[in-house]
């Protein structure tokens, strides 16, 4: 007989079995990618036959793959920095109680994250071609800035709203000007939010397909788009090797986040 709120013993055991099944479901694809990336066969074999790191060596020495990885990283980095530069002052304005039309501005700046990416992609392709930067590096950075901006903004806003703003008032009373207040008080207050927001923004750009696929060109092919094109035609263990690299990267990033600020900060859909 269960007492009070305690979940019964059998129910708990069944629950643990369920969690094991779900964990396997979540893990299976990563395991399969890793397995098919180390096979010695020329086709995808799972379980793998033999063991080789040759596929990793091959893709990392293939300029086409390396160019894609470099392009994705550059675009995501620049777009995140631009988004942060735009988001931080906007967040400061939005947390000031006296800003007119605050709710409208906040809704407008959040909206890009709620609109289907493929729809945004179609629109951005048409507009960037009109502006003469379709299918170019600057065009990509512009498109990805709008992907990253809402994530950085939401995250900075959340951290500023939870912070004790009285510290800024105290700094003002002690005679600190706006710049000193920002550098010594406000910036440290928003540090965690800014970090988490930049990570989310970077990821939003780095994993994006639905906008990038409209803007990519043969010489400018971000990694997810190149992977998509490869998967549509031929799959060999090299594709698994590249995929495995992205999975390992994500796991390492999450382990670092877990150490620094807790995983909730990265997963919270705020």
């Amino acid at each position: 007989m269960s007492q009070g709120m305690e979940t019964g013993r059998t129910a708990r055991a069944a629950g643990r079995v369920w969690l094991l099944v779900v964990s396997l479901f979540l893990l299976a694809p990563s395991m399969v990618l890793l397995g098919t990336a180390v096979t010695t066969t020329g086709y995808l074999a799972f379980p793998p036959e033999g063991f080789t790191l040759g596929w990793f060596a091959q893709v990392l020495s293939d300029p086409a793959w390396v160019d894609s990885i470099v392009a994705s990283t550059n675009i995501a980095l620049i777009a995140t920095v631009v988004a942060a530069v735009l988001a931080v002052p906007a967040a400061l304005a939005l947390t000031s109680p006296r800003m007119p039309g605050r709710d409208t501005v906040e809704a407008l700046l959040t909206l890009p994250m709620l609109v289907p990416q493929i729809v945004l992609g179609v629109g951005l392709l048409q507009l960037l071609l009109v502006l003469g930067v379709g299918r170019t590096y600057p065009g990509f950075v512009m498109a990805h800035t709008i992907l990253a901006l809402p994530f950085v903004l939401r995250s900075v806003l959340t951290s500023l709203r939870g912070a004790p703003r009285t510290l800024e008032l105290a700094a003002a009373d002690l005679g600190a000007g706006p710049w000193r207040r920002f550098i010594h008080v406000t910036l440290p207050l928003m540090r965690t939010g800014l970090g988490a927001g930049c990570l989310l923004g970077f990821a939003a750009s780095y994993v994006n397909v639905e906008v990038s696929m409209f803007l990519s060109a043969p010489e400018l092919n971000p990694l997810p788009v190149k992977l998509l094109n490869q998967v549509a035609y031929t799959v060999d263990p090299g594709v698994s090797a590249v995929s495995t690299l992205t999975v390992v990267l994500a796991f390492v990033a999450m382990l670092i986040v877990d150490r620094v600020s807790g995983l909730k900060a990265a997963g919270a859909p705020s």
């Binding site: 501005v105 609109v115 800035t145 005679g175 997810p224 998967v231």
Partner: protein, 301 residues
Amino acid sequence: MSTTTRTPAQPTDTPPAGRRRAAALGGGLSWRQWVLAVPAVLATIILFVAPLGQMVASSFTGGASAYRRVLTDGLYFEVTLTTLRISLIATAITVVVGYATAWCMARCVRSASVQRALLLLLVTPLFISAVVRSFAWLVLLGKEGLVNDIVRALGLSQEGWSLLYNETGVIIGLVYILLPYTTLSIMAAFEALDGRLERAAADLGANAWRRFTSVTLPLTVPGVASGALMAFAMAVTGYVTPAVLSGGQVRVLSMLIYEQTLVTFDWVTASVLAVLLLALSLTAVIFYLRMLKRYAMEGAR
């Protein structure tokens, strides 16, 4: 007359410290705050409002004739139905699996490190491209894939199940993509749950099932609803998973938008389809935001 001149000090002679304080609060300088927001607002107008405006404008090239053509064409109607069917089934499965998972994480796991490991498994996929995550299922679900190896070994079927290049495959892939988002959303509802209510129900003699159906479930419904709406909005608009796992045998709206834009270059039709898809997903998003607002208000009480 002499009494009226002796008014108390006016705000005009506030000391400098007070003025700085007012500036830090943003008082009296409200329009200066706007300057800080202008770059972000401009970027959003140029890179978000203008592209959508351009798209809507191009969908009305030649008046509403493109809309009339799309809305009366049997093919588009069929594809829309397929999109909705797949999305609804995937959302329903995701919500049930996600609810069970969130419940188990809240009630069956005591160890903090197991909790953290499970959270890691749920959060990490959000940082991996949908292409990579769908590609893995291409390997798993094939006729010679691991799943069918198990099916054959268990004697469930002689030649294995067809799980790829059909709606089943797309639904499995979508559930895999959506599960982390929905589970995290429902987990938040469990965290906000006041455990004392369940305990009170137990003290009043309610058995486990009764406690679940009349206390736990109703109190977590807002989390379920917002998780479901988010999943549905993502399923309806997703391109990658159906494109990879359908092998072109199943067609959804997002695939048609891609084809019209990059294969047949019919941008008017692509824009019309994009506007329809936008309307479909925004309906879900508006309900989602309302759920979140109501939820936040209930939480504040």
